[in-house]
Amino acid sequence: MQYHSPSSFNEAVAISNSSSGLVKYLAGGTDVLVQLKIGTKSPDHLIDIKNIPGVKEITLRKDGGYTIGAAVSGAQLTEHKELSKKWPGLVEGMELVGSAQIQSRATLVGNLCNGSPAADSVPGMIAAGASVSIMNSLGTKDVLVEDIPSGPGSTSLENGDLITAINLPKRNDYEGDAYLRFIPRTEMDIAVVGCAVNLSLKNGMITKAKVVLGAVGPKVILAESAADCLVGAKLDGSILSEFSTKCSQIAKPISDKRGSEEFRKDIIGVIAQRAAKKAYDRALGNN
C-alpha cells in the first residue's frame, strides 16, 4: 500500500486518477483503518486528505449556511456552539458515534461514505437538507446527502469521487431538528433503529417537515408520507399516533442480532414520535 498526503483537493483527485488498484481516501480513519486491519478492504493507494488546507474548518457562508470540511471531527462539531445551537439534531447524531477517542477523529463524511444503514449522523444530515460537494476529474458538483447511500455498505459515489465538504442550508427562526436512536444500553452501541426529524413552524403550525429513518432498511429511508402527515398540523395526540403508525409502515427492517423485524417496526414508531416532539419543541424555542 502506498500512502499519499496531498496538499490540495486537485492533487488528491490527480493521484486517484493516476493510480491503479483499489484507491481509498482517508479522513478520520475510524472505519478505513478497521477495514485495513481485518482485511475486508485492502487499498493499494491510501490518500490522506487531512493535510489539505481548510479541511478541518467549519465556516459560515455568506448565504447564512454552514460548510463543514471533510475532515472535521465529531468533537469539533460538538464544540462549535453556534452550529450545535442551530442544528442540535445533526450534532447529536454525530455525537452518538463511538467513544471520546473515536469522536476526536470520526467525520460526518466518513460516516456517510461508509454506507451503513445504521450510521447515526446520516439521518440528521438528510433531514437538514444537507448537500455534499464532490470533486472528481471532470470537475466539482453538489449532490444531496440523501442521494449518496445506495445500499448496505455502498454509495452512489463513483471511483475517484472525493467529497470535499458538507453544506448545510441557512437556518431560519422557528426551525428545529432532533435525532434519536434506540440501543439496548446507554453508550457505545450501533443503532437498532434511528430517526431524524427537521421541522419548520409558523404560528406553531408545521409548514415543512423532513423525516428520515435509520437502521430499518437497506439504506436510510426518507419517510416522505410520514412527514406529509405532519405538515399543516400542530403536534398533538392524534397527529402523533398517525405519524408513528406511518413510520412503522414505511420501515422495512431485517431481523438480526440487534433486533427482530417486528420489534424494529414497532420501536421506530415510538422513537420517531419522540424525535418529532423534540424537534417541535426546539423549533418553538428557536427564535
Partner: protein, 159 residues
Amino acid sequence: MNKIHVKTNINGDKVEFLADPRETLLDCLRDHIGLTGSKEGCGTGDCGACSCIFDGDLVSSCLVLGVEAEGKSIETIEGMAGEKELHPLQKKFIEMAALQCGFCTPGILIAAKALLDRNNDPTESEVRYWLAGNLCRCTGYDKIIKAVMETAKDIREIA
C-alpha cells in the same frame, strides 16, 4: 515494502522512525520506538487500551497510521509522570486500587487525564461517559470512576 521516514515529537522528545504505511501508530510506538506502555487490546478502536494524545486530541493509536505522525506531537503514558513524581491520577489509582491486571490502565490514565485537563469538575456521569471507550474486564469500573473523581477533587483544592 517502501518504508516512510517519519519525524515526530513524542513526550517532548524528537523521534524519527521508519514506518511501513500500513503500520498503525500503536505498532510504531511499540515496535519501532520501544514505548510499550500503550497496549493493543482489540486493535479496532473499541477498547481504548492504546489511547494516547495526538496533537492535543485523545485518540486510539490503533486507529491512526504511524505515517500520520509526521510533524505531530504525541503524548503517551510514558510521558505522564514527572521527573520525580507520578501524576496525581497515577498516585490515586495506586492509593485506591483502581486497577487489577493493569492492562487497560495506561489507556484509562491517558483518557482520564485528557478529561481532567479540560474539565477538573466533572460529574460522575460525565466521567463514566468519557471513559466509555476504555474497557476494563477486572475492576467493574467503580474504583476507576471513584479514583478519577477523587483526583479531580484534589486538583481543584490545589488550584
